[in-house]
């Protein structure tokens, strides 16, 4: 919160007197200034010396042969200008707006807009959209699902067609086959019992805890009764 007195003092304190002779320079004075200021003579830049010049017998620009200065770690020579070692080719690869503009693609590679109608596709249609006799032919070719049969018989026919071994039928032998793969991937019949023996279930705990017997249970029951009596007495 600011008070009125404080605000007035602040306004008074910031008041400044602008001299009348202080004007912005006109265009003529600007030209005079440009004329009077001598253009700085550009000093010739240092010649670029590529210390990492690539040659055919080097790897990554570094010589693979023995060198005299790399054996000892001494102080680096004083470099007057570190920018002189920059590669001018890298400096010339600055991003420019022309890199962001889309590159016009040739008409042979242009993506055609998707059409919603299959009739617009060139050539004959791969699927007869308006010909429903295809489903009749499909049903005839399958020939396994007869609507006059009940649900269970349809399921059996379907499973017999899918499972090549015919394991879903009731005629499957009760004794397992010696072939392990066939016994693992077959579909068990409803009259089969689960496989007994070693399986992938976690092993049971080897530690056997002593079970609660009747005597200990009676002792616990007496404790509960006594606690209940104490509780009733407290309440």
């Amino acid at each position: 919160m600011y008070s009125k007195g404080t605000k007035g003092d602040g306004v008074k304190g910031t008041k400044r007197i602008i001299p009348h002779d202080l004007t912005f320079p006109s265009s003529s004075s600007t030209t005079l200034l440009t004329k009077t200021t001598a253009a700085p003579t550009l000093t010739p830049t240092q010649t670029f010396t590529d210390h990492y010049q690539f040659s055919s017998h080097t790897t990554n620009g570094l010589t693979s042969g023995p060198s005299t200065a790399s054996s000892t770690f001494g102080p680096s020579p004083p470099a007057a200008d570190t920018t002189s070692i920059l590669d001018p080719q890298l400096l010339s690869l600055q991003p420019s707006p022309q890199h962001m503009l889309p590159i016009p693609t040739p008409p042979s590679l242009a993506i055609k807009p998707a059409s919603h109608s299959p009739d617009s596709l060139p050539g004959p249609s791969p699927f007869p959209y308006h010909d429903f006799t295809f489903f009749d032919e499909l049903n005839y070719s399958l020939g396994i699902l007869n609507p006059t049969d009940d649900f269970q018989s349809q399921i059996d026919q379907l499973m017999n067609s899918v499972v090549p071994s015919g394991a879903a039928t009731g005629a499957y032998p009760s004794t397992p086959k010696p072939d392990v793969d066939a016994s693992l991937f077959r579909i068990p019949a409803s009259n089969e019992v689960p496989i007994k023996g070693n399986h992938s279930a976690p092993p049971p705990t080897k530690v056997t805890v002593r079970k609660l017997n009747e005597e200990a249970w009676e002792h616990l029951q007496r404790q509960v009764k006594s606690a209940e009596a104490v509780f009733v007495f407290l309440c």
Binding site: T205, V207, V209, R210, K211, L212, N213, E214, E215, A216, W217, L220, Q221, Q223, V224, A227, E228, V230, F231, V232, F233, L234, C235
Partner: protein, 103 residues
């Protein structure tokens, strides 16, 4: 359940079933009990009821688990905060930390 009047101790077979479910269920993940030295005939009643409560959850008996848990908490409160009727410093606090009724 707020007191022990409504609590009945499960039968022996039920307690053994709950403890077996606890050992085969929770103990496989949080084994903080030493089973070789665990004897259900000598274990304290709050511990036994807590084990039975967790085992009842594994037996899908939620109501029994809640009753066993409440009873276990009551017994545990009686162990942790033993009060006497004439104790003036713990007046108002009964078994299990519950408010004591006044006649």
């Amino acid at each position: 359940m707020t007191d022990l009047e409504e609590f009945t101790l499960p039968k022996v077979s039920a307690i053994n079933r709950y403890t077996s479910a606890y050992i085969s269920g929770l103990h496989q993940h949080i084994p903080f009990l030493h089973l070789p030295t665990l004897n259900l005939n000598e274990v304290e009643i709050p511990r036994l009821l807590a084990m039975c409560s967790l085992g009842a959850l594994y037996c899908f008996e939620k109501e029994v688990a809640m009753k066993l848990h409440s009873a276990s908490m009551i017994f545990l409160g009686h162990v942790l905060f033993p009060v006497t009727p004439l104790d003036p410093y713990t007046d108002g606090v009964g078994i299990g930390g519950q408010a004591r009724k006044r006649n």
